[in-house]
Amino acid sequence: MTMTRNPQLDQHGALKHLLSIEGLPRDVLVNILDTAKPFVSVAEREVKKVPVMRGKSVFNLFFENSTRTRTTFEIAAKRLSADVINLNINASSASKGESLLDTISNLSAMDADMFVVRHAQSGAPFLIASHVREGISVINAGDGRHQHPTQALLDMYTIRHYKQSFTGLTVAIVGDVLHSRVARSQIHALSILGVPEIRVVGPKTLVPDSFARMGVRVYNRMEAALTGVDVVSMLRLQNERMDGGLLPSAQEYYKSYGLTAARLALAKPDAIVLHPGPMNRGVEIESSVADGSQSVILPQVTFGIAVRMAVMSILAVG
């Protein structure tokens, strides 16, 4: 993309869309993480709602199915008192032949204030953001293999929660890095926040050496990659990778790259284990690790709602 100015920021450098972690200034990321903190406590109240987005309409546009991500955005918007409209576009206009931008124009005419977009095509949220009228914000909830910025932000929130700071950490990202929008967003976020050592590990077919260009260290052996790390971030192995000939079988994969208790023991004793869900137990992660004391997978879900509330309220009211 040949753009001189980041399309996510207004002329004062304030966030107006959240499309990608790449290119965001550090203080924008830190502000999102700081803002999320008070939102965590909202969930502990009898009334789990604050009036920050009262009267605003959030449209969840899911061109690709994801019940889990859609639900967390829906909960986040509802806890901010916004009205939420869920649209599963696969099942409606797209199948009738309406173009993406016609769909967006129609929904904008219904006085939307915010679009949360999940699309199988990389870059679709950018296209939408460049067509919505002034004042409407777009949040990328995952586009193709490109970015999943709110997932990376909730991972950063979780890491900061348990490790206090980013400087001095070694983080290993494990699995299908090549096809993962989560990994891509994480690598950008970790770099911007100052993590000195980011490792990626997996088979050569899924973690090619070319990743070194992103400033990370590439490993093809789990044991070497996990030794001494503070954070192990697992990626979900998608079943279609087996069919594509990139991997022999789930069992083979687990044997070489599954996060077992024995392998986790190579990390620092206080290392934490992240996973964006849904997990394949026995494929990328051993059950006892997923449920173990170093797993922060469920706190990630809780923090994820607070982080999405923070992003939405920053976009809605500045």
Binding site: N31, K37, S41, E46, V50, V52, V317
Partner: protein, 177 residues
């Protein structure tokens, strides 16, 4: 022109008013960030309140979010007691328009339905936009519309508790509290 009284004296006045009107074993104190928390912290000890001190950040309930946006450095409200049925004494440093107190009460009700809420403030500078009054007041003062009253706290050391009130020219576009 700094004609504001010393904080110690105001706290003493407040304690004298509050003490006969509360039950230290039952009344709970909630300070409003940030100045109100400092004052509440001192009152909490001086009055021998048993219930742990609560703190509130009204950031998410402000009525000027559309105009002024979220503040950076918002803090989480911490209400470490059961609000339903509680006898609450809300504490702030300066009472002005009443908007902060309105927001704080809304926030409190998110936690439950208190039995009673009363309000204690060091100063009342008048200029109310809401039908709100302090139950316990250190002193009423008169300052110009262009000025704001700032409460400072000595950062560290033995004087960490030392609070100081001063008048400063109003800064920024934030709506008055």
């Amino acid at each position: 022109m700094n004609t504001l009284p010393p904080v110690d004296a105001l706290i003493e006045t407040l304690c004298a008013q509050i003490r006969p009107q509360i039950d230290p074993a039952r009344t709970a104190l909630v300070g409003i960030h940030s100045g109100g928390v400092w004052v509440a912290d001192i009152l909490h000890r001086a009055l021998g309140i048993i219930t742990p001190l609560g703190t509130i950040d009204v950031g998410l309930h402000r009525d000027d979010l559309e105009r002024s946006g979220l503040r950076t450095r918002m803090r989480a409200s911490m209400i470490p007691f059961e609000v339903a049925g509680a006898d609450i004494l809300l504490v702030d440093d300066v009472l002005h328009t009443g908007r902060t107190i309105r927001a704080a009460m809304n926030e409190l009700f998110d936690y439950g339905r208190p039995d009673r809420i009363r309000l204690a403030t060091l100063l009342d500078r008048g200029g109310r936009h809401m039908p709100i009054a302090a139950t316990f007041l250190g002193q009423a003062v008169s300052v110009g519309d262009e000025d704001e009253i700032v409460l400072d706290r000595a950062a560290t050391g033995a004087h960490a508790d030392t609070l100081l009130l001063r008048i400063a020219p109003r800064t920024g576009q934030r709506a008055p509290d």
